[in-house]
């Protein structure tokens, strides 16, 4: 029973839900579901609804409305509104008929002329809105009224001609009633237009500018976007697409009636809103506009086909719209909150009581004063030296939380200089054979800095887990690294579910979210070596170069992964049940390894880790600041050997100068101490250390 519960908590479906909700494409889930629902209901209630003929008919009637919805989407996404689409559509329809069938202009000339007309109307809208700074609503309303008046006048003037239209052009007929691969021509054009506009808005610079202006006009201007031009272009495109819709409508109907395009701006607006495009602009996609348009269209046609009267249809649509829009607004607004509540999924971790750390507890972990008088280096000149490393000239390198690598010059480490600025949050450091400084950067990946300070990227992605919804190919939280004798870089990615700022949350969750990754600089290939590891943190190549030692922070364990010899490729547990949370591992001069504890275990927390449902309720009931977390306020340093035997520990009693210790490096008889949240680097003289030993020699020989 217990093992079943364990299995459930370790593979909770909530994980999937959390990652699903995180996806951008989950935003239009409401309109998407509604589209499918309306389609299904119509298919069930209306006979022959899904027959090929009916579907083709539906698509043919839908295409122009879809185009007008796209046109409307453009203006709404730019942060405005275009009410004139209905009358621009009607006027274009009339002009197409007039130019082609009455004046007899050649077809391409007519299409060009009508589209130019639409664009011109858009230019009037856009010009006034963007350059005249008029209100979009009023401006487009005025254009709507004027054009509608003009349209009525024009159709009245040409009543006779319009009534006796007779077309014998096969191209014209193809436009009106032909098929492309079984799809009605106008629908095929709609698909092309939708795909093109989608790419335009998401991939092409002027289109992206429209979205940017819609999101935040001020921010867009600060970013150097020509706001006026972007706004202007949005209305011009809107007008041109509407004109295109008018042409196809003309080809289909061969006429221009008095009610053509009446109320289409309302339908288009409803479609856009129903699709979940924010009326405030900047948020939404063309696909959403299409979904909204499809819902409206299917509802209207479905209700008409089932025999509802026109007025009732309108009322029903209004009610459905109201409900759907209300629900959608709630969803878009609260999705983040829902995600927050479901994203953290505590797992089940069983702990044994750890060895005592009490001063007189008699264990090797007993508290002592060995770090008490650590000499502070760089006091208040550094923020968060997670890792430190020394080069062959004894200079000290460390990481700063602002994304730079800081160097303190030997011998007294008083001169501070910024060695390189990369960005992200640099963490683990290592030197390769050529004395390039390699650094793991949370949020970015693994980077290197040559001696001449040029920065190069080592890797920022690895193989993606195919069975996972979340794209984990990009490196989320590269933590620590080391270089094997053959030049391969082994590094840990602590978690793929949380940013560095939330690393304690990963501990609260306690699941295997991390990976051990290997990058081969020779081939340039990055490969995940081990996955589903619980916060793999410190990485160190063993003295013999045949295995990688890595520490699992939240499980308080050290593992050994063999990379050479007969056991190559196997992973084995080296030390279990440590009293602290392990961080970086580094070589020591006596053939052993230093291990930093970034935190110490608390019995209450251990108890909570074996009770995931308690922690789930905690997530739901109290705010994140109050959640229990691993005790990462105090740490210490221990030393262990290749057999996993811990031989000594070093403490700063009370954690006064070195509360959390994330890394220790031995160099020429001294031990340097770094901490993720500290304001200094500590240094102590080691009594029994080899005063000539330095890590670089240990790795790459004396040369």
């Amino acid at each position: 029973m217990k093992s079943l519960q364990r299995f459930w908590h370790r593979n909770s479906p909530q994980l999937f839900l959390g990652e699903l909700l995180e996806k951008r494409w989950m935003e239009p889930i409401i309109p998407f579901t509604l589209t499918i629902a309306v389609l299904l209901v119509s298919a069930l209630m209306i006979p022959h609804y899904t027959s090929l003929g009916n579907l083709q008919q539906l698509m043919r009637s839908f295409a122009e409305q879809g185009m007008v919805a796209i046109a409307m989407a453009f203006s709404v996404l730019s942060g405005g509104i275009d009410l004139s689409v209905g009358s621009v559509f009607a006027m274009s329809n009339f002009l197409a008929v007039y130019f082609y069938l009455i004046l007899g202009l050649p077809l391409p000339v007519m299409i060009f002329a009508v589209i130019v007309f639409g664009a011109l109307m858009g230019a009037i809208n856009g010009g006034m809105i963007a350059y005249g700074k008029t209100r979009p609503f009023l401006t487009t309303l005025v254009v709507l009224i004027i054009l509608r008046g003009a349209y009525n006048k024009a159709t009245a003037a040409f009543t006779e001609e319009l009534a006796s239209i007779n077309s014998d052009s096969s191209v014209w007929d193809f436009m009106g009633s032909g098929f492309v691969f079984g799809i009605p021509t106008n629908m095929a054009v709609l698909i092309v237009v939708a795909v093109a506009t989608h790419f335009y808005l998401t991939r092409v610079r002027p289109g992206v500018h429209i979205m940017a202006v819609g999101s935040s006009r001020k921010a867009a201007r600060h970013a150097g976007v020509n706001v006026k031009r972007a706004l202007f272009s949005a209305y011009v495109i809107s007008g041109a697409i509407t004109a295109l819709a008018g042409i196809f409508y003309a080809a289909r109907q061969n006429s221009s009636g008095t009610d053509t395009g009446v109320g289409w701006e309302i339908n288009a607006l409803a479609a856009v809103v129903l699709g979940g495009i924010s009326l405030a602009g900047g948020r939404g996609t063309i696909a959403r506009a299409m979904m909204g348009a499809a819902i409206i269209f299917m509802l209207i046609s479905g209700l008409v086909q089932t025999g509802f009267s026109g007025n009732l249809t309108t009322a029903i649509i209004g009610i459905i719209l109201l409900v759907a829009v209300g629900f959608n607004v709630k969803w878009v607004k609260n999705k983040g909150k829902v995600l927050q509540k479901v994203y953290v999924v505590p797992s089940w971790v069983d702990f044994q009581p750890p060895p005592s750390i009490a001063r007189h507890g008699g264990t090797v972990f007993a508290e002592n004063d060995r770090l008490k008088n650590a000499q502070p280096i760089a006091l208040n000149q550094i923020e968060g030296p997670e890792d430190i490393i020394l080069d062959r000239r004894d200079n000290l390198y460390t990481v700063n939380r602002n994304g730079s690598i800081i160097r303190f010059l030997a011998p007294d480490y008083c001169v501070r200089e910024e060695f390189a600025r990369i960005g992200g949050r640099p963490l683990g450091l290592a030197f390769d054979r050529d004395q390039n400084l390699l650094v793991c950067i949370a949020g970015m990946g693994v980077y290197g800095i040559k001696a001449d300070r040029t920065i190069f990227k080592v890797t920022d992605r690895t193989t993606r887990t195919r069975t996972r919804l979340k794209d984990d190919s990009r490196l989320y939280l590269a933590d620590d690294l080391d270089v094997a004798p053959d030049g391969k870089i082994y590094f840990s990615e602590a978690t793929t579910r949380y940013e560095l700022a939330d690393w304690a949350l990963d501990g609260f969750e306690g699941r295997g979210n991390g990976r051990l990754i290997c990058h081969d600089p020779k081939s340039g290939v990055t490969k995940t070596v081990l996955k589903n590891l619980t916060f793999p943190n410190g990485v160190c190549i063993a003295h013999d170069g045949k295995s990688v030692l890595w520490a699992s922070t939240w499980l308080c364990r050290v593992y050994r992964y063999w990379i050479a010899g007969e056991k190559a490729g196997t992973n084995e547990l080296l030390i279990d049940n440590l009293p602290g949370y392990c961080d970086n591992i580094n070589r020591s001069s006596d053939g052993k390894y230093w291990l930093a504890f970034c935190g110490l275990r608390s019995p209450v927390y251990d108890l909570a880790m074996a009770n995931p449902s308690f922690r789930i309720r905690m997530v739901k009931q109290i705010p994140p600041d109050e959640w229990l977390c691993p005790g990462i306020n105090y740490g210490c340093v221990i030393k262990f050997d290749d057999n996993g035997v811990v031989s000594e520990s070093l403490w700063d009693p009370g954690g006064l100068s070195h509360p959390t210790i994330t890394s220790v490096r031995e160099h020429k008889g001294y031990l340097f101490i770094g901490g993720l949240e500290n304001n200094r680097i500590g240094r102590i003289k080691l009594a029994n250390a080899d005063p000539a030993w330095e890590a670089h020699k240990s790795y790459w020989g004396a040369s």
Partner: protein, 373 residues
């Protein structure tokens, strides 16, 4: 009527906490004024309560002993008397006797020389095993609070976490400690008692229900003055000008309230973990490597944020004649005067003992402290 109101409230707002922790706001807005308090004399081992004697000296209960503090800043310390069990609340009677609350023994009356001259160990046949505080009315009647029927005063944290039905009592007895009555029963760890300035009411502060209640001395009328504090109230005393001073030995946290609801986890924690490391309020917040940590308590650049969820806290409030808080003095999470259990007004000075940090302090006068906090 308020019950119906609560039911309606539950129906309209099903997710709302019934007894939610109030935000430290208004008169309770956080400040650092308690940290500006001046320590008087040497450290005192776990001082619990203090009382001003007729001889002008201050008597402080500390562990099993009562210490007599005299001199200008009460810096001259001398042992007054010693018991076989911890001593808590203290009060002097008008006729020059010191009434002390002794754990598991009840009320003990001492002469000015420190000799035991009277004793009250039970009320209505039930022993007073958990005497927490005592107050004397102008007519000589002695009022005492018995915290719980299950635990002694020093077992206060388990008593909170065991989440028992309230079993504390307010006991009234005559000046000779002969006849005792139970004035009120089923109180949730009453920790402070004071006779009101008018002399017609007894005010009782209950720690576990975080409230202040007034009981009329004649009759059994009761009136809730404040129904929900953000802290755990401790002792309350009369101040100058119809005011009162109230000490809070800690503040409530969401995590503690949550663990109190989680019975299974709470029982397991009490069974397997040593009490120092439990989730719950502590008096001292003394350093322990293995204490439970909360996300908000993670140090950033070596600094403990003052607004982090409090494991221990220092809080004192001045109440007006209606019992409403007029001002408060705080020692926040990063402060040094935590776990204040007793307060006393000595002339124009206000003194308090911090049981958590082992000291007697004089509060900054309102003029010297910045009121803005």
């Amino acid at each position: 009527m308020s019950f119906i109101g609560d039911v309606v409230d539950r129906m309209l707002f099903p997710n709302r906490e019934i007894h939610v922790i109030p935000v430290l706001d208004g008169a309770f807005s956080p400040n650092q004024r308690l940290d500006q308090a001046r320590q008087l004399g040497q450290e005192i081992e776990r001082p619990d309560d203090l009382a001003l004697g007729p001889d002008g000296a201050l008597y402080i209960s500390s562990g099993n002993a009562i210490i007599r503090c005299s001199g200008a800043d009460f810096g001259d310390r001398a042992a007054f008397t010693r018991f076989s069990a911890p001593v808590g609340g203290l009060a002097w009677t008008g006729d020059g006797r010191l009434i002390a609350c002794v754990s598991k023994q009840g009320l003990v009356a001492l002469s000015a020389a420190g000799k035991t001259v009277g004793k009250l160990d039970s009320a209505l046949g039930e022993p007073i095993a958990c005497p927490t505080s005592v107050a004397v009315a102008p007519d000589g009647t002695i009022y005492a609070t018995d915290g719980s029927r299950a635990n002694a005063p020093e077992i206060w944290l388990p008593d909170l976490l065991q989440n028992r039905a309230p079993s504390g009592r307010l006991i009234a007895c005559d000046r000779g400690l002969k006849e005792a009555l139970v004035q009120a029963d089923k109180l949730a760890w009453p920790f402070g008692v004071v006779v009101s300035h008018g002399g017609d009411e007894v005010w009782v502060a209950e720690s576990w229900s975080h409230r202040l209640t007034a009981f009329s001395r004649s009759g059994d009328r009761r009136r809730i003055i404040v129904k929900n504090y953000s802290g755990y109230p401790a002792r309350i005393v009369r101040g100058a000008a119809n005011e009162y001073w109230m000490a809070f030995f800690g503040v409530r946290t969401q995590l503690t309230e949550f663990v109190l609801r989680e019975r299974e986890f709470c029982e397991a924690m009490m069974k397997t973990v040593e009490p120092d490391l439990w989730i719950g309020p502590t008096l001292d917040g003394r350093f322990n490597y293995r204490e439970p940590t909360q996300i908000g308590r993670i140090k950033k650049l070596g600094i403990q944020k003052p607004w982090a969820p409090a494991r221990s806290y220092g809080l004192l409030a001045r109440l007006n004649s209606d019992g409403e808080a007029a001002e408060s003095l705080h020692s926040r999470v990063d402060g040094r005067i935590h776990g204040v259990t007793g307060v006393q007004v000595v002339g124009s000075r206000v003194l308090a003992v911090s049981k958590g940090r082992n000291c007697l302090v004089e509060l900054p006068s309102p003029a010297s402290g910045d009121k803005q906090g």
